[in-house]
């Protein structure tokens, strides 16, 4: 004969699988995040591997008046596209089309003013919404360099040292490396990888407790010859199984994507083998079970299905807090981190991804840090289901 908790589990699982909304949520969360993550990282990689100033296209009106400037732009690998006179609207349309980074318009009297050593005006037109800041700065730098070289030549012709023009010499040093910049990124990436543990079982947990109570079938179930602990364990395992399935699929997909991307290009590393992944998935099983246990324990006590949903949608955010705090305070990995559910899984995966050697203790701690509270939550829920006050509220 099947044990009662297994009967409850099989029935709840069958029911949940028939709930399209719950399955849709499961599919969305397992696929969406890894794909989104892969897309973002891929964008970043392609941006950083693009040769500098490759194809910076610049439109110029009245280019013939300044041949030296044009030559200097060309030297800096900026392609000049000569255009006839245009009005403001046409310029706007041209920039919106994103074919050129910016547009230079030399005033009609440019050559005349230049020859007379009066300020010769050049207009720089750009679209700040186009996210071309770096290339636009390149163009401005060329213009500034050209301007100061002409000024120097003129001063020299008047017997003044060009050094007078530069009382201060500015030299820039950037100590930020791509590795340091992406360290923060991978930290936040990993933080969210475990989120589905709290999402995928949510619907089943709420439906089988608060939902069952609201549909008034719970009293019938409680009057069956099955112990409260069997009912709770059956429902807990249903939500837990969905979370385990969800997070295992998601981690596998994320692993496939992260292994495939050339992350070295942006100074990130994903040194996770398939065996590591299996261990991480295994260590995340208790996390899913903890999520399910908490959800069952909370949802069964909610006054209605709606209340259960709204309470739980806030509660799923709580496990993220330790990870965020650690990231904000920039704490070094310590053993205590493996004793905090969720944070332990994040820390474990981060350390493995770095490629460091791991001993067994972090795995064991990660496993237990979630499993023990999960069992406590199940015990609480079973005790609660048995209590008279709960029966009265059913």
């Amino acid at each position: 004969m099947k044990p009662a908790f297994l009967i409850v589990f099989l029935k709840e699982f069958k029911e949940t699988v028939r709930d399209r909304r719950a399955l849709g949520l499961l599919a969305l969360f397992t696929v969406m995040y890894p794909v989104m993550l892969g897309y973002m990282l891929n964008q970043q990689i392609s941006r950083s591997t693009k040769p500098e100033r490759e194809g910076v296209a610049l439109a110029v009106i009245g280019a013939r008046q300044a041949p030296t400037l044009m030559a200097q732009l060309k030297q800096k690998n900026i392609t000049v596209q000569q255009l006839g006179p245009m009005d403001e609207e046409a310029i706007g349309a041209l920039l919106r089309a994103r074919k050129v980074v910016a547009l230079l318009r030399l005033s009609e009297h440019y050559a005349e003013n230049y020859a007379a050593m009066r300020p010769a005006r050049i207009e720089l037109w750009f679209d700040s919404a186009a996210d071309n800041g770096a290339r636009q700065r390149d163009i401005e730098e060329v213009l500034a360099a050209y301007s100061s070289s002409v000024a120097s030549a003129r001063l020299l012709a008047h017997g003044v040292s060009p050094a007078t023009l530069a009382p201060v010499q500015l030299q820039r040093y950037d100590t930020g490396s791509t590795a340091a910049r992406s360290a923060g990124l991978i930290g936040s990436v990993l933080g969210f990888l475990f989120f589905p543990a709290f999402i995928c079982g949510l619907s089943a947990a709420v439906d089988s407790t608060a939902g069952e109570r609201e549909r008034r079938s719970l009293e019938v179930l409680m009057a069956q010859p099955a112990r409260p602990v069997d009912l709770i364990v059956g429902k807990w395992l249903t939500a837990g199984a969905l979370a385990v399935i969800g997070i295992t699929l998601e981690l596998t997909l994320a692993h496939a994507i992260l292994s495939w991307l050339p992350l070295e290009e942006i100074g990130m590393a994903w040194r996770v083998t398939t065996a590591d992944l299996a261990l991480v998935c295994l260590a995340s099983v208790p996390l899913s079970l903890l999520a399910a246990a908490l959800q069952v324990a909370l949802a069964m006590n909610a006054r209605s299905f709606k209340e259960a949903q709204s309470v739980l949608s806030l509660v799923v955010l709580v496990p993220m807090v330790p990870g965020i705090v650690v990231a904000m305070l920039d704490l070094k990995t310590a053993l205590w981190m493996y004793m905090v559910p969720m944070l332990s899984n994040q820390t474990l995966l981060r350390e493995i991804a770095k490629g460091g050697a791991m001993d067994g203790l972090p795995f064991v701690l990660t496993f237990l840090s979630s499993l023990l509270p999960a069992l406590a939550a199940v015990a609480f829920a079973s005790w609660r289901l048995r209590s008279e006050r709960y029966v009265l509220a059913v």
């Binding site: 004969m1 099947k2 009662a4 009967i7 409850v8 029935k11 069958k14 029911e15 028939r18 709930d19 549909r215 008034r216 079938s217 719970l218 009293e219 019938v220 179930l221 409680m222 009057a223 069956q224 010859p225 099955a226 112990r227 008279e388 029966v391 009265l392």
Partner: protein, 243 residues
């Protein structure tokens, strides 16, 4: 055989049951009459061991539900005031679920599902999922669940509500068959006609106390009123709260 002696139950300051005593014999249908709020639901919950009494004794075939609720429940079919169907399960799956929870072996279960389906004339909905069932279909499924494991005791909370004439007759013949089998049936109801036609014994409770127990004829005789409904009102002592 269900024997209840001086059972009391208090929720905080509210005395839900203040002293209920009766015995319901095997092979009889016992009606449980009482205005809304008389304590019928509390009484039924005490009988299946969902609640614990403060005082008195309950014996269901000699077993105390407070001491061994699992043994008592295996021998009770409990139809609550809600049907408790699962919309995404078919009738057969629903019945299998509760049959398995009652420890029925697969072969026995399949045979019993066939039997109750025939008894309640519900072949048409056996493979359908409960979503969209009519009131009558719902109560048939719930009743089938109640009868499935051949319990010796049946606790039915208003089993005939929402049933059309044909289904009411089917229910009545099912209950008569169970009585002939020697089951002990307790049926809470508000339909006096049903009581006069079907029930051998009547328990009247009001404000948490047993007011009277006896056959419908006895109750009429004792109150000196020919009509059971009027006799009931006279026993309860007020016209209030009668649905």
């Amino acid at each position: 055989m269900i024997e209840v002696h001086d059972v009391r139950k208090q929720f905080g300051a509210v005395q839900a049951l203040g002293g209920v005593s009766f015995s319901a014999r095997d092979g009889q249908i016992t009606a449980l009459l009482g205005p809304n709020g008389a304590g019928k639901t509390t009484l039924l919950r005490l009988l299946v061991g969902l609640l614990k009494r403060d005082h008195g004794s309950i014996a269901i075939d000699g077993v105390d539900p407070a001491a061994d609720p699992m043994a008592v429940r295996r021998n009770i079919g409990f139809l609550t005031d809600q049907f408790g169907l699962y919309e995404r399960l078919s009738t057969r799956e629903y019945l299998s679920y509760f049959g398995e929870l009652n420890g029925m072996a697969p072969a026995v279960l399949a045979a019993r599902i066939g039997a109750v389906t025939e008894l309640l004339a519900m072949d048409d909905i056996l493979e359908r999922r409960a979503k969209g069932f009519s009131q009558g279909q719902r109560i048939k499924v719930a009743l089938a669940r109640t009868l499935l494991h051949r319990p010796r005791h049946l606790l039915l909370d208003e089993p005939s509500r929402g049933l059309d004439v044909m289904s009411t007759r089917a229910l009545r013949s099912a209950l008569t068959a169970l009585r002939a089998d020697g089951c002990c049936v307790i049926m809470a109801t508000h339909v006096m006609q049903e009581v006069t036609h079907l029930c051998d014994d009547v328990i009247v409770i009001a404000k948490g106390h047993t007011v009277a127990q006896g056959s419908p004829q006895e109750l009429c005789r004792r109150t000196g009123i020919a009509n059971l409904e009027d006799a009931f009102v006279s026993l309860v002592g007020t016209e209030e709260g009668i649905a």
